[in-house]
Symmetry: C2
Subunit: 691 residues, 2 copies
Amino acid sequence: MPLLVAMIASLAATGPAAAEDGYQLWMRYPASASQPAIEVARDTPMTRAAAAEVRRGLPTGAGPVLLALARDPRLQGLRLATAKLGDEGYSVQRITIDGRTVTLITGNSDRGLLYGAFALLRHLDTGGAIDTVALTAAPAVTLRVLNHWDNLDGVVERGYAGRSLWDWWSLPDVKDPRYTDYARANASLGINGTVLNNVNAKAVSLTAPYIAKAAALADVFRPYGIRVYLSARFSAPIELGGIKTADPRDPAVAAWWKAKADEIYRAIPDFGGFLVKANSEGQPGPRDYGASHADGANMLAAAVKPHHGIIMWRAFVYAETDPDDRAKQAYTEFKPLDGKFADNVIVQVKNGAIDFQPREPFHPLFGAMPKTPLMIEFQITKEYLGFASHLAYLGPLFEEVLDADTGVRRGETVASVVDGADDRHGISGMAGVANIGDSRDWSGSTFNQANWYAFGRLAWDPTLSSQTIAREWAAQTFGQDPAVIDAVVAIMAGSREAAVDYTGPLGLAHLMATGHHYGPGPWVSELARPEWNPVYYHRADRGGIGFDRTRTGSNAVAQYAPRVAKVYADPAKTPLEELLWFHHLPWDHQLSTGRTVWGELVHRYDRGIATVVDMRRQWEALKPRIDAKRWEKAASQLAVQEREARWWRDASLAYWMSINGLALPGGSAPPAHDLAWYKAQTFPYPPGNPQ
Amino acid sequence: MPLLVAMIASLAATGPAAAEDGYQLWMRYPASASQPAIEVARDTPMTRAAAAEVRRGLPTGAGPVLLALARDPRLQGLRLATAKLGDEGYSVQRITIDGRTVTLITGNSDRGLLYGAFALLRHLDTGGAIDTVALTAAPAVTLRVLNHWDNLDGVVERGYAGRSLWDWWSLPDVKDPRYTDYARANASLGINGTVLNNVNAKAVSLTAPYIAKAAALADVFRPYGIRVYLSARFSAPIELGGIKTADPRDPAVAAWWKAKADEIYRAIPDFGGFLVKANSEGQPGPRDYGASHADGANMLAAAVKPHHGIIMWRAFVYAETDPDDRAKQAYTEFKPLDGKFADNVIVQVKNGAIDFQPREPFHPLFGAMPKTPLMIEFQITKEYLGFASHLAYLGPLFEEVLDADTGVRRGETVASVVDGADDRHGISGMAGVANIGDSRDWSGSTFNQANWYAFGRLAWDPTLSSQTIAREWAAQTFGQDPAVIDAVVAIMAGSREAAVDYTGPLGLAHLMATGHHYGPGPWVSELARPEWNPVYYHRADRGGIGFDRTRTGSNAVAQYAPRVAKVYADPAKTPLEELLWFHHLPWDHQLSTGRTVWGELVHRYDRGIATVVDMRRQWEALKPRIDAKRWEKAASQLAVQEREARWWRDASLAYWMSINGLALPGGSAPPAHDLAWYKAQTFPYPPGNPQ
């Protein structure tokens, strides 16, 4: 058309659904040109799920694959060593059978085949070769469980990824295919349980209509090896049963729970059991009746025991009637109960003694209750680490806690307490508070998916390094270009430390704004309970900053084993990262870094900003190598993170300076606004904060 | 592997993202093997959007396509008749230029090219041939607008498709690609405006942070010809401005709104204007100060006038202080104001005089205010027609109202009042209360997408038949298999009448349960305001049923033109579909059908159930011809619909029988439960019902 001054528009030719949008998580299987040959020696819903996954994910030419139980007579000639795989482990290897070489996925149970299938795909997606594949693994703990803090109205408490994935209204009629993809993603990591509803539970979740809804989810999850659990409201016998009390020692109460458990198991034969938050932050519990946590837990345990169910009983308690250091109260309450719990109770202990702060020392209960299985509870959702928008890879946080030396027995770490092997506990577990919602990308950002991934992988194998996990995840999520993997892993590696730096360095904690926990509020001092106020935690005054938890203070250090307590009792030995958690120190106290406390604080705030700036720079450089939608969203979120990191730093420094009257060290920029400005900020309709 | 008793599992090989899940709406373009030749004679964001769409959607071999304005000098030799296309119309035709045949998309504006591009794709997707294409159209009304009843916390009032599409929290930083797809879908229908926030508005939506968020959306929508509007809270000058009054006659109030409008237009230069719900259901308004609705609207109109903005002022008012028939109050309040509104005000009138019931006679204001542009307001979301789960195609409802003869002038219909041509109004419009949320399929079900589609198509061309629209939609949504199209259209065609039948036949209305409006509640009689109670509407007693709106009753019929009023005043002339809306009749009153009122009522309830059963049967038969995910979800929802249709029928009949003491006609099944059971049902956490 020579007459036309034609401009050929440069246009994206793909439709919206074709683009990568994060929905596929780390399971971005290549489109196979040919169907691999997959043979399944046993037809069950779970082996069908395993085989379907292999068929979806296996690259062209990687077949044939055989899925067969270790006890399959046809494998007996091969002398496979499968005893150590236990009930859930797998072995993936190349074997020759009748003159043909096949990739064998085996184990002692269908579950082993399922996990082996995912392990094979992970191996291939991270660059492993099919012809040398040799994978063997078994999980370290028996319970690998997500905790959904999902309310029945669809609001997710501390959720930053949209509404609850569970559409309670349309269940059990409508089974969203997404429920299946949720199960697939969890099974790919070895997660084998999910608590559907918030620990701040409503009794209505135990009524017949909601049991039917939970049963519909359980049916979807079952072929993927995931059991359903429910959070139970301890006062449900009053609210639903018309009984006057919820006293666990009352036979009518016990009978009500037994009947309720029977009702649930009729609908969900493999129901996992109950998670209970009792006598904590306003929730009812056995202490309301003068009974102990063990009394409460054991009564529920008896109700589910005939069905092989368990009780996960949370140790996250602190009381407004107890003037002692909040950090000490769970230990004080639970340690005397060691040995008093029924054998199908596991006590669920948060990783630290306060509440999922960006950094906390490990919880002193780990190592202190050898007669009781302790399940560690991590928070995957980033309540205190920037919601959905900040990039903060939590692998290092999980790793740091799991690797912590309890000081109780030689070589005992938090991980070895949790796996329960030394004390031969029948159950053991890790719980992660989910960061999953109905956002298209599940977790509110691509990088948040890595936290779900890291939790799952560590629950299976706590000895994995966070760096290894990051590489694995990056390869599956962004492809096998080493330049991309290296950059992504580098961005992730320093990100959690950056969040610590710009929100609360040197062991400071709990400095966030009230209620929604969005942004800084170190000045908050007027909330009803003392331990709800940031000033309770930082104790900053003209003379210094930090919470004295040594003998001259609350003596929380004494809750640790002597070898650990000795370190924490001495400011010169306490790691700088935990310094102000344990010590109140003068602003001009000299540190090993050559800086004063004040100088080091400012230095670390600035370091946090610098890291975020650098993360943005690295991400910008990846633009040509990452698909547009995912790149663009992460870039937008990194811009938010930089702005909010500066806000945290500036607001915090403005406040500290109002207390200590000190000038900023040379070279450090003054806050952008005065303190009054930061105090005046309000944020309507924050996410994750049910009213 | 002969040793193995191998079972080849039959497995779905596609990953989750590859399957159809409704996200693509009616724009399921075929994957093109080759890039069509597309030439754009003019490079603007809007022509780029138009060309991108053609490139996405054009089948292989359908090029070349030329997009050029009618005034383009190179088209002058062709003598195209484009004057009648106006500012928004398009012409699509085959032309020969320089010896080459091309498909020309032309119009008098970039917007014409955009709409022409979508018209071409619709033509092809519904089976039209490229070589005979000849499309010419211009819209009937100037404002084709969605009303989002979206709250700033993400809850959509009367929304059954998840949360609000607008993630206010992450805006303006994160621009979800879905915002673009929303704009594309609307532009494909010719929708040119969107009111972002609920008519039950919060003042905070007019603050600087929220203006910036709205501006980010406006930036995304602009290339697709969609202007952003905001619902304005009339008392905002008090809440945000610190002024003691919101009296529209107060100069400080007018000045505040003027400054606010200026602020908004600085951020959004093509901001559309405000939608206002005033003095209605608790919202503040000019009547609070003794000023009229015209005073209020005109004051706001003056604020946006310099920027060419408009005010959409809702006529949906009824007062607890007015004991008159609720159906009469809007007319009583607004008719005297005819001619008193500024020329950039349009009064927005619901299709009927009550509130979006499954069937209502057309609103008597249509035809009664010739000096005032009247915008019709339809409800696309199914507040009263079964939420997301019932299949009820609203095309026939929209069509029935638009085609209604007002009786005022010869040939005057509601549609011709709305298009404003006879009275030469400068603005005209149709508003639809959106059924859009962040559900993957946008509207909570595939068939709900058809209601969005039908609204948009009728806003462009109110003369289209609902049947034609259903065929168009079905072909684009399910493909061009005539057997599928025929069956889908058959299912849709009777679906709204079925919903009328099983919820409120013979002109009954407003019989739903309280608050959430889920399910039946004809017995409800104790709400604070009389007109909130179902018993106010059906007036059933031992002697009969129905609301007497003739001279012996409220005389609402007198609000219609005499020719129409004469019909509605006479039970023998009133269509059976509207009978009990206008008349209170004895249960044994004989109807033209040969049945009594009671007999006809039962007959229609049963007919509604039978239709739903038949819809299910037809859908089952389509299973092999529809993709699995969409088929399965609709099948699940049809099962819900059948159950709930029976519930509506049974609960209603149990109640009517408790009033009239009559037996069911022979052959009609008794209700499954007694009346007490139906009254005792409760539904926790219903969707769409903000607390």
